[in-house]
Subunit: 378 residues, 4 copies
Amino acid sequence: MLIKMRPDATADEVKAVETKLVGLGFKTGKMVGEAITLIGVYGDITRLPVEEIEELAGVEQLIPISRAYKRVAQKGAPDRPIYQTVSIGKVVCGGDELVVVAGPCSVESESQIMEAARLVRDAGAQILRGGVVKYRSSPYSGWEGLGSSDTDSLRKGLALIVKAGREFGLPTAVEILDPADVPVYEDAGVDCIQIGEPNSKNQALLNRLRTTPLPVIHKRGNSLDTEAYLLWVERMMTGGKENVIVCERGIASQNRYTRNTLDVGSIAAFRYQLTGLPVAVDASHATGIRDLVHPATLSGIIAGASVVLVESHPNPLIAKSDGFQGLFPEQLRALVEASRETWELRKRLDRRYLPSAALEKDYLARMDADRARFFGKR
Amino acid sequence: MLIKMRPDATADEVKAVETKLVGLGFKTGKMVGEAITLIGVYGDITRLPVEEIEELAGVEQLIPISRAYKRVAQKGAPDRPIYQTVSIGKVVCGGDELVVVAGPCSVESESQIMEAARLVRDAGAQILRGGVVKYRSSPYSGWEGLGSSDTDSLRKGLALIVKAGREFGLPTAVEILDPADVPVYEDAGVDCIQIGEPNSKNQALLNRLRTTPLPVIHKRGNSLDTEAYLLWVERMMTGGKENVIVCERGIASQNRYTRNTLDVGSIAAFRYQLTGLPVAVDASHATGIRDLVHPATLSGIIAGASVVLVESHPNPLIAKSDGFQGLFPEQLRALVEASRETWELRKRLDRRYLPSAALEKDYLARMDADRARFFGKR
Amino acid sequence: MLIKMRPDATADEVKAVETKLVGLGFKTGKMVGEAITLIGVYGDITRLPVEEIEELAGVEQLIPISRAYKRVAQKGAPDRPIYQTVSIGKVVCGGDELVVVAGPCSVESESQIMEAARLVRDAGAQILRGGVVKYRSSPYSGWEGLGSSDTDSLRKGLALIVKAGREFGLPTAVEILDPADVPVYEDAGVDCIQIGEPNSKNQALLNRLRTTPLPVIHKRGNSLDTEAYLLWVERMMTGGKENVIVCERGIASQNRYTRNTLDVGSIAAFRYQLTGLPVAVDASHATGIRDLVHPATLSGIIAGASVVLVESHPNPLIAKSDGFQGLFPEQLRALVEASRETWELRKRLDRRYLPSAALEKDYLARMDADRARFFGKR
Amino acid sequence: MLIKMRPDATADEVKAVETKLVGLGFKTGKMVGEAITLIGVYGDITRLPVEEIEELAGVEQLIPISRAYKRVAQKGAPDRPIYQTVSIGKVVCGGDELVVVAGPCSVESESQIMEAARLVRDAGAQILRGGVVKYRSSPYSGWEGLGSSDTDSLRKGLALIVKAGREFGLPTAVEILDPADVPVYEDAGVDCIQIGEPNSKNQALLNRLRTTPLPVIHKRGNSLDTEAYLLWVERMMTGGKENVIVCERGIASQNRYTRNTLDVGSIAAFRYQLTGLPVAVDASHATGIRDLVHPATLSGIIAGASVVLVESHPNPLIAKSDGFQGLFPEQLRALVEASRETWELRKRLDRRYLPSAALEKDYLARMDADRARFFGKR
């Protein structure tokens, strides 16, 4: 962290800031320019009391120069990152196998979710998804999920998907909307809680999930920058929670054709630069167009995702919600197969991936010679 | 609503859709093209069971041609809209007077909120704002509000701002984060509940607020289109709730300089085209820069806002949160005064505002003559 | 195209619009609702004189229901699209082989471009890129390319890259900035003209390029919607020009971490739905971060691209422009190899790609039975 | 400017960077942390050879801490900025009077532009606008302006608007598309050249305009950040050109309702923080909706604009282009009148505008006392 002092800050004020920082256990550095003095702060920046510092006399601005999300952040050397795994039921995410989470947008009836689960299992996916309370952008859509009327309906709805999952050997992942419902999900035997896009910055919900033992798939809010999102993920992890999966599902943009814009650059950044957590891609919500889910999912995998979220339905033409993006069963089978092949390719290619950290030293050493060669400069 | 049939839809399928619609009480029209048949649906579209229609054989897509937010929507003729008012305590929003809601980002201590309230009253603002539980984009900011630890701390924090408001004759508006806290806010004597930007699409919270008697200021989510936002507002109103204020507080964009982008086009659209609800502008969060709050607030008023939300602090240099955007007391006074003058101007100008509806008939009648005059065409 | 009439349009006005359309050779349909009359227009919509129709009495709005970019648009049935190829020199784009266009951001000296070309050839790329006049977002960057001072310098700069390309058997692709320079590029022996992002909507340049025999890579403007961009591409093709390659290079968004946001959803849409033209991906400009170019490029290929644009440099640490995104030679080799493997995978997977058009008929037929099964409905 | 050294930079490399900078005439500072060394550069940063520095061994990144657009940048103290004026013909922009530039999207015929000019004059606007070659997002719109076929048609079209302007005592502002046309505009007697949004980053055009004596209105590209745009404006001014007007006309965003999003925050920043150049607002293109042009224009004025661009037409219902946003003559009159009143108000309010620079010293002095008062801290 850099502290930029005001142009009119006095030497005493600068001194006071340094004293304060040292008193808090940080090391400091200083650079005095004609107009601006900068104070560097070294140590565990997450412990820095930002407000207290900002309120010190003479302080103009705090300029971060390293990352603020310590728990989310990738560990290990830049060319040898350490990745962690998260288990959903018996299924390991972020490990050697690609994990596909598939199922209908919403649990519509017992027979529908049983049939959906069977098709998910037959397609080779490992985890069953399905909403019991549903986000709807219009209050007039007429369907907010089997569990939307009260806690009892929520319990019954969750029981249906858990039953379907167990019948076909699939752990289940279900979206949550209300912090008060966390114990209901835990008791119902759900294997993973999902935070949908509209709740990505729901502070009360994220705070509540700090203490659930269940793994959480946390979808990125569609207006959040790559790193701003990771700070919201970090929130859940501050109490020690570790079993979190980050998920890119499309960001808002000027695009009209697709519903959102799948941000594979962030997927790649999550995987290769920013975090060791498993990375999921949800191309169903990102594109909103059934026939683009296939290529967009594969692009997420090759860019860095190890978990795929996809909506599928026994007959999407009669789905009560998101019918335009749910895959037909044949498409789900094709997608799981293609995803696996893409994943195998990425694993092979990853071994040959060359981060700059492994090369820069050599090229730094050659810089003078190269300059002379190309520009005749010494 | 238009229903676009698939190219391969049979005459029987088209017939079945029409029969279904008539059975539901709608009137229908039909247009049969070479490749595409369109069925028009007339009547109260909010009652249309969208999913049921989408699942009918042969239906490809529903194309909305009129607005889906009936309760939010502006009533009256285009050139004679009807506006409604919302009372916060004794203060009437959306009426003849501009309403300024001011106060610190967060309630920090009893002496701070008392001093803040005094300054708000002295500046001429009518409502006191102040957060008791605070959104923070980083979990390490070190301050989430006096009321963030438990329900008891929330009660005590709310009591402080209510006390300060009563001392200085100011109704209070306080942000809520968790649906479970609604009764706590109601019991504390808060006069208005505020939904912050990160909760704009929090379905559980919006559903819960359907039944509170307290007025609600609902801030627009920063990735929501103008009308998509109104659908989220409509959600709260579906049960009959009427005392809602819409609020533009900046949208996410490629801009770096300001924190968000204040969308005055939407403010103007809310006021002059889309809704009769009172419209608020929050330029503090939109710009994130103290010295831009003044011009940006005025631009919101002249564009159509009748309520101003603004952060102010007895000494923003020591504020525990949002210190960069809180106004100094002198700036608050200047802003309230300037806002009032801008409001008086807008009221005068509104009387001379000429919507096209009042003119089009004449120009339609002149079209042939004008074409002849300019283009020599008959 | 649908024509929405004003609420107050008279029967005579509706009649006049229909008569006008029939007179122009179109077929029409009509749907009369309580408040709104819609007129459908059938035929070659690109021939519709939009302004003339808009100016007819009673017309409120034209609502497009099919695509306006006829030449760009994909030909063939939805499940059997027809793809076309574009040759750059001897290299065929959009055919059976993946094409990699690589080279430095700018031609800096003869020895630099010769060395760069050698490395491009050795890495297995087929086309050499390199700017002779360069876009720079700041006028103070101190380098706008060898050819930026006048036409003579442009000629000399172009000669260098053409020489380097010929030496190593690589056709060349060079960006153009000024319509007046088209003949200079043609005469210099450049094999392909590139339109950079800032010129994506440069009407004068696009109009001028209608008549060049050289193939053109047209990069998408970073604020253009998927289909709005295709209309700008269509502009070049209206005179009969066919050798155009579309290119996604990142769009502007709220993202801060990457320079732009690579939109693979649009790449997939170009390939699988919207056009038969070859599709290129430029992950160097999309991400702006050297170590993300590799995964982001692969994601573009698997999503639908058949041409890769990538910046590489003999020693990017001394590059005069875009030094942070240029690949080291070893990285270029690794990328070309990985790209080829990804391409081979995609060709295999493409054969198993299942567009909905091939499945919908069956599921339409099952809709009633499935509804009965899941919802007990008849 | 800060130079961030690589973690592995040696002491010799750091030394070499400092030596280089001193050799170039800059002063330097240094801060050595545990992991990162930062070197500060002081002096005229626009003279810093960025590429050369970036290529020095051990340099990781250059971090700007002050503005790069020296000529565009506001001069004077923060609380006493200096504003400059730009004359278009006899009309002074950025001075004591609000300037309204009005007229049709395009010059359609002699009688049309004469009538349009008369109405512009009668409404009280001071400058006549009108396109002779027109941007069209579709090549099939059927109308690209009277001057679009060749240089001769351009000359004739320009002559029409110049004639109309002179007849009614109005200087003229006309958009340019091709750098080659600059002398044609100069010779035709046009009083001001306009750069449209799609050309905002057209480097060849901007470079060419460096030497025209005509004033230029430079519209902001709809994907450009506030300050990134100013760097493109700076480009034109680097050779000494001073008569430039900046213009906000809406940015691309996720909004669907309005065509673009009018960014009043940037208008306020241009006026109160970033530049001394006159600031224009174009609400016609920003909103794309006739009935929103009025409120949005006023919001631009109160936020900081001193020039208004607005499309008007004798009968917009028959306009060949942009017919949905052109004002009816009565609306133009109402807008000019309302704009003047808003301007008079802003001039009054500006005198009472309180930038923080005028207050901070006092509040800095009170910080300790206030902290003690509110938080019981010493």
